[in-house]
Symmetry: C2
Subunit: 436 residues, 2 copies
């Protein structure tokens, strides 16, 4: 008797328990969406503090619409250290742990193998393992399955099922996108894929399903992110070219895109965050064609240094001492509207400045523990708009009002968010990325 | 009295003559659209044969909707060699000559300076010169205007007007797009821009006008083309990666794009043509950030060699002698639906094969002088679908029918146009770009 066939029947009847391993920005929203759709979900995490917060319906990070879903009766958060019975109770596991880069830019599979060790505490026969973390292509077939088979003696696709179903939602819109986006399902074999399809249909019966191989599913996530990353790099290359030619890069990009069928160039700016920054390394971890993506990475990762370089030149022009500056940094999250500082280019700007003895006062309305807006701007020599939070659109009069020294200060706008003329009216010296 | 002010009045009243210099793929459609809108147009060209063809209402190249406009009573084609009176008669000149690359990849300004010499046979005072050719940024201000000022003693912006209004239509859709697309107008000064605006409004009163500096106008054209070129390169990088991972690149790209708000990855394929190929060099002719674009160029220009390399490996696998092959090349134009072979990657494939003694029979339904379909495929060892002409979508049964040897033949599909299963049903050995 094929126990995977039993599993598919159980999923169809909603007579099963889903285990989501990893309660981070990928796992928690996914677990809550499943619970909200009527699936019994247990969420596992190694961080006791995080599990406790979730138990008390406190969101450990911000995500639109997530708070309302915490406290669902179908959802139980569990600390991994003491959870054997709960592990046993699950029929399907979705692995949503982090796959960070090490300091030497190699992929750290530590959390992934820990997650598998936790799952393998209880017999896997007749169950399904889904890999949702972003991983180098081939990870399910070449790393996860050999690891499980060696530890258990079970055979993938026969004794237990396996599939790659990559996460690809936009942070901040996770809840909405998990429900709405087509689901890419890369089953290790047909029955594995069939079970995964039934599972994801629970979220939204009309959800579009795109079936492929597990390797292609893993690649698809990386292609999507690299497409964005390379285009941001190109926009940044255009911005640097415009600076060189003494023109305004964002203005030119707006002109190109305006009612043009072949437009769509993104705006230049600081690019970062955990996905775009590291996914290139995933894609290129074992291949011969790394050029375009690695180069995009070099360009994007250089942008914070470029901001610092332009400030240094500006200070030299003014005859001021660079390392005696005080800088107010507006925004530390890696993108507008987010509270996520991982791989943030804004933080990189702060670190680069601090490494040259510049005093940096960081303010981010979304990030707890940063300084107040007032403290950041009131006596700064330079104010850098580093993250494109919508709250920063109207800061010029606010900065003007708060300053004891008057408006004698440089505003460096990394996102073309402020109006040059207005800034100059207030007496600020306005600089922006993509225009000298 | 300001004679440029007089010119603007004349343009408003449609009491002026427009000279279009260069009757190629940019100039001729533009001249005809103006004439069709009621403007008196003289079209100049150095190629007597081309001028004669146009005089007899024969289109020298194919462009949708163009033939109907030839023979307009407002349009007069003139051979440059004998045209002083006609030159004199013009109030505004639009320069639409070619700016090709030399064999050593430098820009050849020869045609541009010849065009200026022709214009300067008659006094330029009170007239306007518009640069429409694609040029390196700064060409109007740093090359064209100093040349004119030195030759005439006139002052740009005062004695005569000047503007950069880059062409940016899609070949094959020129007529439609000249009317519809927003016009980018980079006046050397305000009055120059004002006259150019009045001029282009004649084409379509509702035409959107985007005004900027002449340098930004020149940059905008290059940004638009490089945006496409780099994205084609990225799609090609994805295709090569998929081949490496043993997956199907176009399938993955389709999956990523399907109902995905951050999709839009182009299909991989052969990239070429006069614009995309050379514009990168224009953009980078005097700048310090050439990396991403030059690399894209390296990748795109390598694709024909990649096709040849895969064929060579395939022959080695089969134990066949590569240089004894006969190849039927389907498509020689640089893109589907076009008859333009300039910088065509399909031609490059043919040349690479021929350089290794392979016999290549070229067929293109749009390009005069190429062989028949039958001749190309009937006894070929390999048929390469090199250009994505829509006519090639249903060739499998046609090839099958025509072959004396039966279907024992490799089909190499550079555009994922054909169905692998159908090809195999006919007994062909099917290969495609982006999947091994």
């Amino acid at each position: 008797m094929n126990s995977l066939k039993e599993l598919i029947t159980k999923v169809k009847k909603n007579d099963f328990t889903l285990g989501v391993v990893g309660m981070g920005r990928v796992g928690l929203p996914l677990a809550l969406v499943f619970a909200n759709a009527g699936v019994k979900v247990i969420g596992f995490d190694q961080n006791k503090n995080c599990v406790n917060k979730i138990k008390h319906s406190i969101a450990p990070f911000s995500e639109a619409g997530m708070e309302e879903l915490l406290g669902s009766k179908n959802f139980e958060p569990v600390f991994c250290g003491n959870s054997l019975a709960k592990i046993k109770a699950c029929d399907i596991y979705i692995v949503c742990v982090g796959t960070p880069l090490t300091a030497s830019y190699h992929i750290d599979y530590g959390q992934l193998f820990s997650a598998l060790d936790i799952i393998l505490q209880s017999p896997l026969k007749g169950k399904l393992v889904i890999l949702r973390s972003t991983v180098p292509p081939g990870t399910l077939e070449e790393r996860v399955l050999p690891f499980i088979e060696a530890k258990t003696g079970l055979k993938a696709g026969v004794d237990f099922g396996a599939a790659s179903c990559p996460e690809r939602m936009l942070e901040g819109h996770a809840i909405e996108e998990i429900v709405k986006l087509p689901e890419i399902i890369g089953g290790f074999n047909a029955i594995s894929g069939d079970i995964a399809v039934e599972l994801f249909k629970k979220i939204n019966h009309g959800k579009k399903i795109l079936r492929t191989t597990s390797k292609s599913a893993e690649l698809s996530k990386l292609y999507a992110n690299m497409y964005r990353y390379v285009n941001f790099a190109l926009a940044n290359e255009f911005a640097l070219l415009a600076e060189d030619f003494g023109q305004d890069g964002t203005e030119i990009i707006n002109i190109v895109n305006y009612e043009y069928p072949r437009g769509g160039i993104p705006r230049p700016g600081l690019v970062g965050g955990p996905c775009l920054t590291k996914d290139g390394y995933f894609l290129l971890s074992n291949t011969a064609f790394p050029d375009l993506i690695l180069l995009a990475s070099r360009l994007n990762e250089f942008m914070p240094q470029h901001v610092v370089n332009r400030l240094r030149l500006k200070m030299a022009e003014k005859g001021k001492v660079f390392h005696a500056l005080k800088v107010g940094l507006l925004g530390t999250a890696f993108k507008g509207g987010s509270d996520d500082e991982r791989y943030s280019p804004s933080v990189k700007i702060a670190e680069l400045l601090e490494s040259e003895n510049v005093v940096v006062v960081r303010h981010d309305p979304h990030v707890k523990g940063t300084e107040s807006f007032q403290k950041a701007v009131k006596d700064a020599d330079v104010v850098i708009v580093a993250t494109n939070h919508p709250e920063f659109a109207d800061i010029l009069p606010r900065i003007h009002k708060l300053r004891k020294k008057g408006s004698n200060c440089i505003i460096f706008d990394c996102w073309d968010m402020l109006d040059k003329k207005t800034a100059e009216k207030y007496g600020f010296d306005y600089m922006k990325l993509g225009s000298k």
